[in-house]
């Protein structure tokens, strides 16, 4: 039965799930701070990253120990490798939340363009959904759900492109243009969170099928 191996795999998966929940809280905090122009909330989001990092390091140490002591093979080995990847993807998502919070602090005294704010709310919600879908696909070993992330990613990509168009249309006011440039980075952060969610979906497919492939890539778009 390999009780110790199974217990350690279960613990690592539970810790990854907790890390995902923390990332969702960080993301919601970052979006709220941006929309409400709340620098204190932004500071909380920045400080909260330590919580995510703690989980990240716990998984890293757990994987190191498990590989050294339990010599996992076959599906167990794929699970450990996928956990290692997903751990990094979640940690990077949390870093993007920190970037959004830092940008929010720089521009909280500028009155925001309501169309952009509506766009960020949409992108934030889509990013949250993608994180949930990716984690569910991994927990349920559901390749079909994982593959659906490609379509969800297309939606967040389109929203990103709309944000860029809105920023270009902001006009010649210098303060507003500076604000707009920072908002393009915010938009890019949310779009990248979506990309990392797709990457987690790819790890689900690898775990289930034993074969790693990117769902889409720049040189070979999905047909």
């Amino acid at each position: 039965m390999r009780l110790v191996l199974q217990e350690e795999l279960d613990t690592l998966q539970a810790t990854l799930h907790e890390e995902g929940e923390l990332v969702l809280r960080a993301l919601r905090g970052a979006i709220n701070a941006l929309e409400q122009r709340d620098p204190e909330l932004a500071d909380e989001v920045i400080a909260f990253d330590d919580e995510v990092d703690r989980q990240y390091l716990a998984i890293q140490a757990g994987v190191e120990s498990l590989l050294a002591r339990q010599t996992p093979v076959a599906a167990d080995l794929r699970l450990v490798l996928a956990l290692l990847h997903n751990n990094l993807h979640l940690e990077r998502m949390a870093d993007y939340c920190v970037t959004i919070a830092k940008l929010t602090k720089l521009v909280y005294d500028v009155s925001p363009d309501p169309r952009l704010m509506a766009g960020f709310e949409e992108m934030g919600s889509r990013a949250e959904e993608m994180i949930r879908v990716s984690l569910d696909s991994f927990a349920d070993r559901d390749v079909a759900v994982a593959t659906s992330l490609v379509d969800l990613d297309e939606l967040i990509d389109r929203a990103n492109r709309r944000i860029v168009q809105h920023v270009l249309a902001l006009g010649s006011n210098l303060a507003l243009r500076e604000w707009g440039l920072r908002m393009i980075i915010v938009s890019r952060c949310l779009e990248r969170i979506g990309d990392h969610a797709v990457d987690i979906g790819e790890q689900t497919a690898y775990l289930v099928t034993g074969e790693f492939r990117e769902f889409t890539d720049a040189s070979h778009r999905a047909s």
């Binding site: 039965m1 390999r2 009780l3 110790v4 191996l5 190191e64 120990s65 050294a68 002591r69 010599t71």
Partner: protein, 293 residues
């Protein structure tokens, strides 16, 4: 007379004032091994056979409710060392032990200590399963009967077999010969026989080396479960087994003297995770990575 018969036949005295009840009432440890309670404190122990040191100058602590593994190449003294914990070396003519081993703060080799009582509290399981040529039931009941623990004997037998994860396989044939069991079942029977007298510590000397991989996995799972209630010390030549089951690992090696005499030494002792990811000593690293030994 076998060793087990020897240890079970004589009536006993307590080691100091440490009773089983007292031990059982102590709180369970938690957290990292460093925070746990030492059950054995070994200081400067040297074991010699006919004046020739087989193992030299070993100091370490064994922690309660941990699995502690001794690993190392042949002749490094790991089996010699584990036999110190229940006076087994005393059965070998010419064997002497220097240094101290404290057990629950009592000198294990103090003048008033009864070796038989020690072996009741500190049971041992050997490399080759060695059931008595009796029924399954009588194998387990033997120790309690000798010690006068006749109340609720059947319950005691069942509990020991349950703890050893053997009950479901033998409950319908308790009157069958123990020799009719498979090798893996016989080894779990020997563990159950050890548990039936409610020991504090279980010593295991290569407990799975004569077993197939499935039976080995069952023994390893059993060790993981038993450490909730007992302290386990295991000698294994299977390094990966130590990695899988042990909380703490001691690596022993061999020093060769100028005249070719070989003496076992303790090279490194630490949390198993540390030994297998970041050993402090180059000799340990060479051994666990397969570059030596």
């Amino acid at each position: 007379m076998t060793e087990i018969e020897t240890r079970l036949e004589a009536p006993s005295v307590k080691i100091g004032d440490v009773s089983l009840e007292h031990v059982a009432e102590r709180p369970r440890p938690s957290g990292s091994p460093e925070l746990r309670e030492p059950i054995f404190q070994v200081r400067d122990v040297t074991v010699s056979y006919s004046g020739n040191p087989a193992l030299s100058d070993v100091s370490l602590d064994i922690y309660r409710n941990c699995v502690t593994a001794f690993i190392g190449p042949s002749g490094c003294g790991k089996s010699t060392f584990i036999r110190c914990f229940n006076h087994m070396n005393a059965l070998i003519p010419g064997a002497t032990i220097d240094g101290t081993i404290m057990y629950h703060d009592q000198d294990l080799y103090g003048p008033e200590v009864d070796a038989v009582e020690v072996r009741k509290r500190i049971g041992m399981v050997f490399q080759k399963p060695n059931p008595f040529p009796k029924t399954i039931y009588d194998n387990i009941a033997f120790g309690p009967r000798v010690l006068g623990l006749n109340d609720n004997l059947s319950e005691r037998v069942e509990r020991a077999l349950q703890q050893a994860a053997l009950w479901d396989e033998v409950k319908d044939r308790l009157k069958a010969s123990a020799l009719s069991l498979s090798g893996g079942q016989q080894q779990r029977l020997c563990i159950a026989r050890c548990l039936a007298v409610e020991p504090d510590v279980i010593l295991m000397d290569e407990p799975a080396s004569a077993l197939d991989p499935i039976a080995t996995t069952r023994i390893e799972d059993l060790m993981h479960e038993l450490k909730q209630e007992y302290t386990i010390v295991v000698v294994t030549h299977n390094m990966q087994q130590a990695a899988r089951v042990a909380d703490m690992t001691a690596f022993f090696s061999v020093n060769q003297g100028a005249e070719g005499q070989r003496t076992g030494i303790l090279v490194e002792y630490d949390a198993t995770q540390k030994i297998f990811t970041q050993p402090a000593d180059k000799r340990t690293e060479d051994y666990v990575t397969g570059r030596f030994g």
